[in-house]
């Protein structure tokens, strides 16, 4: 199915007007791909038909948001990133009496629990608060529950070990039937909340912001806007962690950050 790009843009603008969700600055090729997939699964034949359904029925719109927001994630995804956090960032964060962390675009929460585990092992969790936000309400619900399929645990355990974790990973969860539930002690200092990087403002000041594999779905303009938001939300010498293929290259704020780990895309706000 080939979507007419002018009509597609009109649909995104109508969605913005009706629901306040702004997808107009998402990278076009991937959002087009996901909307096309949504249409083919639901046997919706044209953009006009999609517009009629989505603009009328908020429930269908929410389902479209779920399709558009990519939720693929894992516990300790890219272990080398977490290893670098352990080695290069947590020691410096330890000098703060109280640590505020924002995980923006947390999807179903796997990386939130990863951070909680890491901070617990570095004995920082009890004086940290983790704000985990996402645009997708359904994902946030899953994240809050912290229940995941047991099938992935072998992979997650191996990821954990690669971050330099010394404990037995199974100490952090309880297995029941085909699911695992992360330990309550990890959840105590996590606040899950909806936040939309395209339209919402800064809501606190943080020592660490993590936003991985979210910016790749934005065009350059929206990427830049998000980087500005992170810059404004970081304390002086606060840390920013991005996804392995993301960079500050296209942001006009790039000179106000320094690289802590070039390969793992960890930056520090320098001015």
């Amino acid at each position: 199915m080939n979507l007419d790009s002018k009509k597609f843009r009109e649909l995104l603008e109508s969605i913005q007007l009706v629901y306040g969700y702004d997808f107009t600055d998402y990278a076009e090729a991937s959002i087009t791909r996901r909307v096309t997939h949504f249409m083919s699964v639901r046997k919706i034949e044209s953009l006009d038909e999609l517009a009629r359904i989505v603009l009328k029925d908020e429930k269908i719109f929410e389902e479209l948001v779920q399709e558009i927001s990519v939720t693929v994630t894992e516990v300790f995804r890219d272990p080398s990133f977490y290893k670098s956090l352990r080695e290069n960032v947590t020691k410096r964060l330890a000098t703060y009496p109280f640590i505020k962390i924002w995980i923006a675009g947390c999807a179903t929460g796997e990386e939130v629990y990863s951070i909680a585990i890491l901070f617990k092992e570095e004995e920082l969790l009890n004086r940290s608060i983790i704000y985990a936000t996402d645009i997708n309400q359904k994902s946030l619900q899953i994240a809050k529950e912290g229940v995941y399929s047991i099938d992935n645990m072998k992979n997650y355990t191996s990821n954990y070990q690669k971050t330099g974790g010394k404990k037995s990973f199974s100490e952090y969860y309880k297995a029941k039937y085909n699911s695992v539930l992360f330990d309550k002690s990890l959840k105590q200092n996590i606040v899950f909340s909806p936040h939309n990087l395209a339209v919402d403002k800064s809501f606190n000041e943080f020592q660490l912001i993590i936003c991985r594999n979210v910016l790749i779905y934005f065009n350059q303009q929206l990427q830049n806007k998000a980087i500005h938001l992170f810059y404004e939300s970081l304390c002086p010498f606060g840390f920013l962690g991005l996804g392995s293929k993301e960079s500050l290259l296209f942001s006009d704020k790039k000179k106000q950050f320094e690289e802590v780990d070039r390969k793992e895309k960890i930056f520090i706000k320098s001015t």
Binding site: A29, S30, T32, I216, Q223, E246, F250
Partner: protein
């Protein structure tokens, strides 16, 4: 094939056995080759750039891993990074995505080909080489629907014929060629990308 038709980009997809096939068709291309070439080779998740290094060792044309939002330039072979889908935007820059696997693969050939077809329309050449699954078949169809040129490696020659066969089964493949025929065709495109 339309004689004199102008092409602007080439996409190549391959899986098992791909390194040998890719080396074969890319090795003789000059450093100032008139088109950009985008490649999906199914690869493991590890972060190393071994594939790029090996190919660069054998080729005159520049080989690099495609970067997020990078502008596509001619005379360069861009390889999709491990564990990300590679897409082409209509402003001819790259986007990456860590969306679900497509045909059990990330990067997926279909994802690159379908987005490239929408961006380059009838000026795109799509090539499917050896491989052991059917990723790329939907992509070949998309390229053909935009009147691009579609090529599959001859299954008799391919180390793993499943992937070219799946592409051919769509009936959307214009040419079934050996690696040396594909190489000759690529070398024959003139400095304006014309056949």
């Amino acid at each position: 094939m339309d004689p004199g038709k102008k092409y602007e980009a080439i996409v190549v997809g391959t899986s098992a056995g791909g390194l040998y096939a890719l080396s074969n068709i890319l090795t003789e291309l000059p450093a100032e080759y008139p088109l950009p070439i985008m490649v999906v080779q199914h690869r493991s998740k590890d972060k190393k750039e071994l594939l790029e290094d090996i190919l660069q060792h054998k080729c005159k044309i520049k080989i690099k891993q495609a970067d997020e939002k990078e502008k596509i330039e001619k005379g360069c072979v861009y390889i999709a990074p491990p564990d990300y889908h590679l897409l082409i935007e209509t402003d001819l820059t790259f986007s990456l995505s860590s969306d679900q696997y497509v045909s059990y693969s990330r990067p997926s050939i279909d994802v690159l080909f379908e987005s490239a077809a929408a961006a380059y329309k009838d000026t795109l050449i799509g090539i499917i080489l050896t491989g052991a699954n059917n990723d790329g078949a939907a992509g070949i169809s998309a390229i053909k629907q935009y009147n691009g040129l579609t090529i599959a490696q001859s299954p008799e020659e391919a180390l793993f014929p499943f992937m070219p066969n799946a592409a051919i089964a769509t009936k959307m493949v214009t040419h079934i060629w050996t690696l040396s025929e594909i190489q000759n065709f690529l070398l024959a495109l003139d400095k304006n990308g014309k056949t």
